[in-house]
Amino acid sequence: MPDTAPAAVRADAPTDGQPIIEIEGLNKWFGEFHVLRDISLSVNKGEVVVVIGPSGSGKSTLIRCINHLEEHQQGRIVVDGTELTDDVRNIDQVRRETGMVFQSFNLFPHLTVLENITLAPIRVRKWKKSKAEERARFFLDKVGIPEQALKFPGQLSGGQQQRVAIARALTMGPKVMLFDEPTSALDPEVIGEVLEVMVALAQEGMTMIVVTHEMGFAREVGDRVIFMDQGQIVEVGTPEHFFLAPREERTKAFLSKIL
């Protein structure tokens, strides 16, 4: 693909905050394919950043670089003071501090809801089983499904499964939560229950990067919206900016499709 795109836009966090994620000059290739180009993005503690963009623009790849599910070839990624290098200890450190919620839930089907949630706290954080279960039940309560603890994921609805996935990530006590289209695989009538949980989380001050096209969510709790296209950050602004006065043609074209 020829390099016709204009110079990349920086997405720096407001200077009055305390940055927890800093990405500088990030480039990534899948073989020959240049999937992320010159991404510079920082996120402050407690900020909620919404990432939008057409399918295939690199949104998932970007947030998967942040917990090193994808390896980057160029640039720096620093999460809560730890730089992601090839050092496995750094990778493990970053993964302990970031929770991730996937489009397809990815609950472990052979474990109960409670076991899904307590597995990592017990094995990674080395908590006692009783403490892990207590925390797990606290978060299950918080996402509104305390009564499902002993069921298997296959026995729950999509919305319930995604809420379990959120509780699973939260129980590890992460400083940052990454959401990759958490409502795209859900039936329309259960999207609301998942968004509600996410809004509550944002209001409690969790740092969040959310790939989603739910612009209602962006308007309610989003601090900044980032529009990506062809592996680049094309436009950055407040949710209002995107609703009222998007600047770039590509942004306008995209927004006209989803709004």
Binding site: N67, F102, N106, P109, R123, V124, F152, A165
Partner: protein, 405 residues
């Protein structure tokens, strides 16, 4: 108001056995013809076989050589040793069956085995004075094991250790410890055989399981040395028939290890060949299971901070193995019958004993020889175990399919 009408039987011709027969066997002229022809044929064969078995067959040779069939040339005065190993095995299986008695499959397998033992015990009590006590002991051990397992399900946690101890002590009990003539004198492996040997070789499936899992995981390793070693092993082993590997093990292994073949019992060599052969197939079965686990499972585990080993052992493997249990049971059934190939390296397993008995003068004196009887007997025993495993496999598939979780 209305009155409750009591249920009426379905009209004749729809319900009951008669209805089923009419619907399935005589629904059309073509079907009727097929039913009649098949029925005549099956009837003829059954009558012929039964008539032969009752009036023409000479079962005396099966009866007279029961010990050869069971243990081959294992000394008669030491029979208590294999029987003690068998009793311990049945007791351990009993604990499993008792603790898992709510599981239809475990319970069914256990009672089938006990049924088999019970039949032999009754025969022993009636006809074999010398084996009465031994077989009654085996039956008692099974039942005691079952009762223990039922009363104390927590015993299951000790089972891996118990099986390891059984394997270790069992081997020494079978083989013996002292030279000479005592109770614990050594019985050279060349005297082991019969159904006992078939069972021993069949247990090769047990070590082949962890080996196969290791090979399957190794095949996915990022380290080229491990990866290609595993691939080479799997492909080479699967590339030749078991019979060839039995030859290789019996002829080449002693050369490689630079020992006299007689120092390395033929049974051990065959056992190694069978185990490794089975491991290669196991690896491919397990690999299929590993591939069926979605990538998202690994990613979710890694994102939670679980390391590679924990992800594999807690997330990927349990799901992969669950998916391939039916295939593994199928492999076990195959191996059970394939152990009969060891005759090619001079071992007298259950199948080979048949041939030996058929060539005894006593067999040859009977007009026409005694062959059919012997093979029929052996076939029935193989069938009992293979078919029982196959039922278990089908139940397992159903159970796993229903509870897909």
């Amino acid at each position: 108001m209305f009155e409750v009408i009591p249920p009426r039987p379905a009209p004749a011709g729809v319900a009951g056995i008669g209805g089923w027969i009419r619907r399935n066997l005589f629904s059309s002229p073509a079907n009727t013809l097929l039913t009649v022809v098949t029925g005549l044929f099956v009837g003829y064969v059954v009558i012929a076989v039964v008539a032969w078995a009752l009036f023409d067959a000479s079962w005396g040779q099966v009866w007279a050589n029961q010990r050869l069939f069971a243990v081959y040339r294992y000394p008669a005065d030491l029979l208590w040793r294999p029987m003690a190993v068998l009793a311990a095995m049945m007791a351990l299986i009993g604990v499993m069956g008792g603790a898992g008695r709510s599981n239809e499959i475990l319970r069914g397998l256990f009672w089938s085995l006990v049924g088999f033992v019970a039949v032999v015990t009754v025969i022993a009590i009636l006809f074999w004075p010398s084996a009465r006590v031994l077989w009654t002991g085996v039956l008692a051990a099974s039942v005691v094991g079952y009762a223990l397992g039922a009363a104390r399900p927590a015993l299951v946690r000790a089972l891996p250790w118990a099986w390891a101890a059984w394997l270790f002590l069992g081997f020494f009990l079978l083989y013996g410890v002292t030279p000479g003539s005592g109770l614990l004198r050594i019985v050279p492996a060349r005297d082991w055989g019969g159904f006992m040997l078939t069972l021993i070789l069949f247990t090769g499936i047990v070590p082949s399981f962890p080996l196969g899992v290791a090979l399957a995981l190794g095949r996915r390793s990022k380290l080229p040395a491990i990866k290609y070693t595993c691939i080479a092993f799997i492909e080479i082993v699967r590339g030749a028939p078991l019979i060839m590997w039995l030859f290789v093990a019996s002829l080449l292994l002693p050369l490689f290890l630079n020992t006299d073949p007689n120092n390395l019992p033929a049974i051990l060599r065959a056992y190694v060949a069978i185990t490794l052969f089975s491991a290669a197939y196991m690896a491919e079965n397990v690999r299929g299971g590993l591939q069926s686990v979605p990538r998202g499972q690994t990613e979710a585990a890694r994102a939670l901070g679980l390391g590679g080993w924990l992800t594999t052992s807690l997330i990927v493997l349990p799901q992969a193995l669950r998916a391939v249990i039916p295939a593994i049971v199928g492999q076990a059934i195959g191996l059970f019958k394939d152990t009969s190939l060891v005759f090619i390296v001079g071992l007298a397993d259950f199948f080979r004993v048949t041939e030996i008995v058929a060539n005894q003068p006593a067999s040859l004196r009977v007009t026409g020889g005694v062959k059919l009887e012997l093979y029929l007997f052996v076939a029935l025993i193989y069938f009992f175990f293979a078919y029982r495993m196959s039922i278990a496999s089908r139940q397992l598939e159903k159970q796993l399919g229903v509870g897909t979780r």
